[in-house]
Amino acid sequence: MPDLIDVHHVAKLASLTLSDAEAARFEGELRKIVAFVAQLDELDTTGVPPTAHVQLDRLPVRNDEVKPGLSHDEALAQAPSVDGDGFAVPTFVESAQ
């Protein structure tokens, strides 16, 4: 179990901006929850397959066919910002680091 959870790093991975007060509070709470979760280590799971989904063996597959969906106007109707016929986003420049 980690001694310290780097909340700022995790928040960055999750695209969440946190105030310093929030970060301090979440760090303490997450440590408590992670310490609670560590009880799973008591169990020997050697050779136990993971469950990602409970009924994968009985799921039907459908044909890969194009079907009508939302119209262009309907898809854009709830957007905070639209430019021409697309979603508008602010400028972005990825730094090289």
Binding site: V10, S19, E29, I33, F36, V54, Q55, P60, L70, A79
Partner: protein, 480 residues
């Protein structure tokens, strides 16, 4: 019962009352009583009356009406309704109006039901009290200083107060069963894959399931039979037909084997809740059920397993809320990454952030195997517990919640203690098996208590037969 789902539908079908009259009465009750409860986030006044008139016009043309003819249905706000605001209890979707209906809403309309409004919930279904709603909590109609449970607390409170005879909720770790237990209503989490989630705003996709809340077992069975069935738009939807669950409600339970898991009657269980659940099990025994003690040895690991898996899935599902295609946008610096962060900071409440952070952490490099993969393996052990026990018994009976309704504010500052209030409902969620809560004897102070009944995958019929037998011994009451 005069105000039950089945009674209303049959009266509307026979023309003894119009759908419009039923709807007008329901809207009147909501207007009169919901100020004190806050079960609803939006009342779909005009849309409901319009839908009711469509139903009445259909009858006037001589067409046969569907099984939900004119029945008012309250719908959890995580379920998309075309043209009716759907917020999932979050500021980030505060003004979102879906351009399409969820599959369950299409099915309700096809069955001639009337959607009267959208109900309050913990933000993105993350919580057990509705106190995590961005729009303020719902109050329990039995005692307005107490929570109705959650996350489908608005749906449960609306049904308990008879603002509607039935509602839709969603259950990821107990979010239908726990509020049903705390409000004295019937709530069903169907088998994983029974009901299409197309149009359900996702929380944890390997667990989420939509289900009914109703004033009685038969009404819940009818609503379930309307919403269940295969849908190609949800890749987890099973291709199995709905059962005749109303008939199952009348089935004799003599000879059915009822398992009582000893781990569910352990430390932390309120003694009055324990006594009430035991009395309900004794009543089933008098009806001819064969009761035996069983063990589900990995029960104590379910809470930890659930909070790793559900938060991991939530952190991925909620990545879609980025201020680009719909929902809130906060853009202080006119720069993309800052816009994502500011939007999500302003749009999500504390519990949602906490779970996104935990989920991101357990999936992050260096911790994935230790937490996420480990929890997936323990989930297999929890499933095997159920597989083993269902070789010997037909259903499991236990309390649905370790306590009756707790006070608003009582657990809100202690996330871990709130998580533990789902201790009896989480294992069935992890196993994907059907489970429900049905009212049994209330506490001495008059608070409702629910008996949880769990059955084999796809065996909702046996579960409902047992629930109906319990209901016959302890009929649902409505709050004073």
């Amino acid at each position: 019962m005069a105000d039950s789902v089945v009674a209303i539908a049959e009266r509307v079908r026979r023309g003894e009352v119009t759908a419009e009259q039923v709807t007008t009465e329901a809207l009147g009750r909501i207007a009169a009583k919901d100020g004190a409860l806050h079960a609803f986030l939006h009342v779909a006044h005009d849309a409901a009356l319009e839908q009711a008139r469509v139903v009445d016009a259909k009858r006037a043309r001589g067409e046969t009406l569907g099984p939900m003819a004119g029945v008012p249905v309250a719908v959890k706000d995580a379920i998309c309704t075309r043209g009716i605001r759907s917020t999932a209890g979050s500021k980030i979707l505060g003004s979102y109006v879906p351009p399409y209906d969820a599959a369950v809403i299409e099915r309700l309309r096809a069955a001639d039901a009337v959607v009267v409004g959208k109900t309050n919930m913990d933000e993105f279904a993350m919580g057990s009290s509705t106190e995590n709603s961005a729009f303020g909590p719902t109050r329990n109609p039995w005692d307005t200083t107490r929570t109705p449970g959650g996350s489908s607390g608005g749906s449960a409170a609306a049904v308990a107060a008879r603002l509607a005879p039935c509602a839709l909720g969603s259950d990821t770790g107990g979010s239908i069963r726990q509020p049903a237990s705390l409000t004295g209503t019937v709530g069903i989490k169907p088998t994983y894959g029974r009901v299409s989630r197309y149009g359900l705003i996702a929380f944890a996709s390997s667990l989420d399931q939509i289900g009914p809340v109703a004033t009685d077992v038969r009404g819940a069975a009818r609503l379930l039979s309307v919403i269940a069935g295969h849908d190609g738009r949800d890749s987890t939807s099973l291709d199995v037909p709905a059962g005749d669950w109303e008939t199952a409600c009348g089935r004799n339970v003599k000879g059915l084997r009822v398992g009582v898991p000893e781990e569910y009657f352990a430390e932390g269980l309120d003694p009055e809740v324990a006594a009430s659940a035991r009395a309900a099990i004794a009543a089933l025994e008098r009806e001819g059920c064969v009761v035996r003690s069983v063990t589900l040895p990995h029960t104590r690991y379910a809470v930890a397993t659930y909070y790793v898996l559900a938060t991991a899935e939530a952190s991925s599902n909620l990545a879609r809320f980025d201020g680009v295609r719909y929902g809130l946008r906060v853009d202080p610096r006119h720069e993309l990454r800052a816009m994502y962060g500011a939007t999500r900071d302003a749009g999500f409440g504390a519990e949602v952030k906490r779970r996104i952070l935990l989920g991101t952490f357990v999936l992050s490099a260096g911790y994935y195997d230790a937490y996420y993969l480990k929890a997936q393996k323990v989930r297999t052990l929890v499933r095997r517990d159920f597989e083993a026990v269902f070789r010997d018994v037909d259903v499991l009976c236990s309390p649905a919640s370790p306590t009756p309704a707790f006070r608003l504010g009582e657990k809100v500052d202690d996330p871990l203690s709130m998580y533990l209030s789902d201790i009896y409902t989480l294992p069935a969620s992890l196993a994907g098996v059907p489970a429900m809560s049905v009212p049994c004897t209330p506490t001495r102070s008059g608070l409702p208590v629910g008996l949880q009944i769990v059955a084999r995958p796809l065996d909702e019929a046996t579960m409902l037969a047992v629930a109906a037998a319990c209901e016959a011994a302890f009929p649902c009451a409505s709050p004073p």
